[in-house]
Amino acid sequence: MNSRPSLRFKPQSTNVLRNWLSISTIALLTALAGCAASNNQSQTASSPAASASPAASSPAASASPVQVEPTGLLAQVLSRSKIICGTSGKVPGFSFVNTQGEYSGFDVDICRAVAVAVFNDPSKVEFRQLSAAQRFTSSQTGSIDIISQTATVTISRESTVGVAFGPVILYDGQGLMVKKNSGITKIEQLAGKSVCVQTGSTTILNLTDQFRKRGIAYKPVSFDDNNATFAAYQQGRCEAVTADRSGLVSNRSKLPNPDEHTILDIVLSKEPLAPGVKQGDPQWANVLNWVVYVLIQADEFGITSKNVDQIAQSTKDPDIRRFLGLEGDLGKGLALKNDYALQVIKQIGNYSEVYDRNLGKDSPLKLERGPNKLWTDGGLLYSPPFR
């Protein structure tokens, strides 16, 4: 989890950017006032106005008999015939370049799923590797269509930075790892002990907050590099190490004797990770939202990439028939094909399949599902109904 913690939002600097942006936007709008009516670009630039009147362009959620015409970003994506997806490219299990030179991972599969929904072709995605500093500005300026970069949903990112987050795809949280033989099971037992932590992110702030809340003194040993942090922990320079739980698990697998280390049952902070789009384009946001929900809902229905064709042929359940686009016009309401859900499941799989092959039991990381189980299994994953 090297890059994720350092990607957190820095309010002041982004406010400056934001001001620049709005100044240039205002200047631009004034300049374009004359010809704005016919100009598609200016419509996407005037995001606050567009989001204030959702009724204007948002397709009705209820099944509408008419095919909704693609506008805004979706129309641009269709005419470009590929999606540009911003991703880190450097986070184990989430996005990386595999031996064949292909992008692979959990974040990557989300973008591929959207590509299947729009083009019925998972290869029509161009991935752009983005740094912490770039990822939100890239979506603001329109150089990427989707940002799928293990971004934590926060209020300031939606209110000031201008990201419209999709559904949460992974509920992560900051955790603590200790050596098993240390006998530490509670955060209080770390009083006076040292904790290795990576700087440049909210990880260290969360850690400080949690210890202050409990009134415990501790010694933070900070590093600016993920590998250095865990190397120091391994060499015994600190009793515990903190990072996001998914990061703890993947880093534990690198240690010489992974079984000697245990991740405490403590969550220091909430880290709900979600893909996002630029604010002010409800149609495109809907596409992202309802592609992610397809993955979750398919899991709930028990539809997998292997049995989807068979279920589509045999099922009489009206819910499933609507979901797969065999009846009704749910897909058309999103300005997509009616069977987009069927294609997404067939070519990408449902949530469990995506999770297992990238992070879970079929991957080298072997990350427990934890809260990322369906609500029916006691987890947090819940898709609104498809109707």
Binding site: L32, N39, G89, P92, G101, S104, E126, Q129, S131, G142
Partner: protein, 402 residues
């Protein structure tokens, strides 16, 4: 063991070639503190080397390097189009061989060094884990280099100009093969990655930063106030900023400041322009140092001969100025080559960036020492080749003799 401790006589100086044992005695074990230092140093080196060798042969898992060799070198360049990279390599190797042959036409054909290098490359081609076809092509390219070198020695000097033209033409050809279009399948610039992008960035950076730097240096010495002011301002502002700041402005700020309907300039282009402008400022100062070292009499003599200012600069000033600053210039080129790594901070996947992406593959998680050693080795090879080439150039131009 007989030692030559002959008494001092009037005989001619003793031959300086010592046996290794005598050399060691004279240089390493001559006083008691040198003996201690030598033993301590040997121990440290030996232990370090032993530790490294034990690690490299038993603990290290080099599969991460051998399985991803193509990724390191060519990055995400599409597999079916790799032949285009081979052609580029062939063109560059052919031209380099010819140029090399021309430069060393007066020396012996086969020196021990050359044979050793050729044999070393041949062994490397045999050992590195690549497909048989790649091995065959690599061998062919080595042969091409040797043949071109041999041919270059035979070419009469009137071909010098043609060689320069061929180098100039190779730029658009290489770019066409990389980018595609005009009948070839297009390749996105985002797919240019790995060592390919590092070398491309360095070559483009040097090719543009050097002339720009020379112009800025001349501009700073100009008698026209506006030109002088602009050059000085540009150089001082660029030198006052860290490179990462320049890249941040180009890659993060610029898209926010440009009006949306202008579209987004290519990310790679923005990064390279930042790198070029930054390096040009440093090169300008190096060149200015060279310009100041040319005696005033040279200028006055040139003017007295009736040369116009352009000819004075082109024929008198620059040749002398540049020759004296070759070591410093090559230093700038080497650091520009290494500074391309900063592009990886902004998502351009050069050698360091692709290394990080490979390390994120869960199959190779934690193999960072192997990966970074390999990447570091590649950087070292190219930097070393550059400094060797600069030394050869200095020798052939007689920098320290005139």
């Amino acid at each position: 063991m007989s030692l030559d401790l002959a008494p001092i006589t009037d005989s001619p100086p003793v031959s300086t070639s010592l046996t290794p044992w005598n050399w060691a005695r004279k240089r390493l074990f001559n006083t008691w503190y040198n003996i201690i230092l030598t033993i301590a140093a040997l121990l440290a080196i030996g232990l370090g080397l032993k530790g490294f060798l034990v690690w490299a042969t038993t603990q290290a898992q080099w599969a991460v390097v051998s399985n991803n060799l193509k990724l390191f070198v060519a990055g995400r360049f599409p597999d079916p189009l790799l032949w285009r990279l081979w052609i580029i390599l062939g063109v560059i190797i052919g031209l380099s061989g010819l140029t090399w042959g021309k430069l060393q036409a007066k020396e012996r054909l086969w020196t021990r060094d050359r044979l050793l290098i050729a044999a070393g490359i041949a062994v490397a081609i045999g050992l590195i884990p690549i497909s048989f076809a790649s091995r065959l092509i690599s061998g062919g390219l080595l042969l091409l280099l040797l043949v071109a070198f041999w041919l270059g020695r035979l070419l009469p000097s009137r071909f010098n100009r043609w060689l320069a033209v061929a180098w100039a033409l190779s730029f658009p050809l290489v770019f066409w093969l990389l980018r595609g279009g005009f009948g070839l399948q297009e390749v996105q610039t985002t797919d240019w990655s790995g060592l390919l992008l590092t070398l491309l960035g360095a070559v483009i950076g040097i090719a543009f930063a050097f002339p720009l730097g020379v112009l800025l240096a001349l501009g700073r010495q100009s008698t026209l106030p506006i030109v002088r002011l602009f050059s000085t301002l540009f150089i001082e502002v660029m030198r006052g900023l860290p490179l990462i700041g320049v890249l941040f402005i180009g890659l993060v700020m610029l898209p926010l400041l440009l009006p949306p309907e202008w579209g987004q300039p290519d990310q790679l282009l923005r990064g390279l322009v930042g790198l070029i402008l930054f390096s040009a400022a440093y090169i300008a100062e190096v060149v200015r140092g060279g310009l100041q070292s040319v005696p005033r009499g040279q200028l006055e003599a040139a003017r007295a001969l009736g040369l116009n200012p352009l000819l004075v600069i082109g024929l008198i000033l620059l040749p002398q100025a540049l020759r004296t600053v070759i070591p410093a210039l090559v230093g700038e080129f080497v650091s520009l080559f290494k500074e391309t790594t900063l592009l990886s901070v902004f998502g351009l996947i050069e050698l360091l960036g692709i290394s990080a992406s490979i390390l994120a593959n869960p199959d190779y998680v934690g193999r960072y020492v192997e990966v970074y050693l390999f990447a570091g080795g590649l950087y070292w090879i190219f930097c070393y080749v550059m400094s060797i080439a600069s030394q050869r150039l200095e020798n052939s131009l007689g920098v320290d003799q005139r």
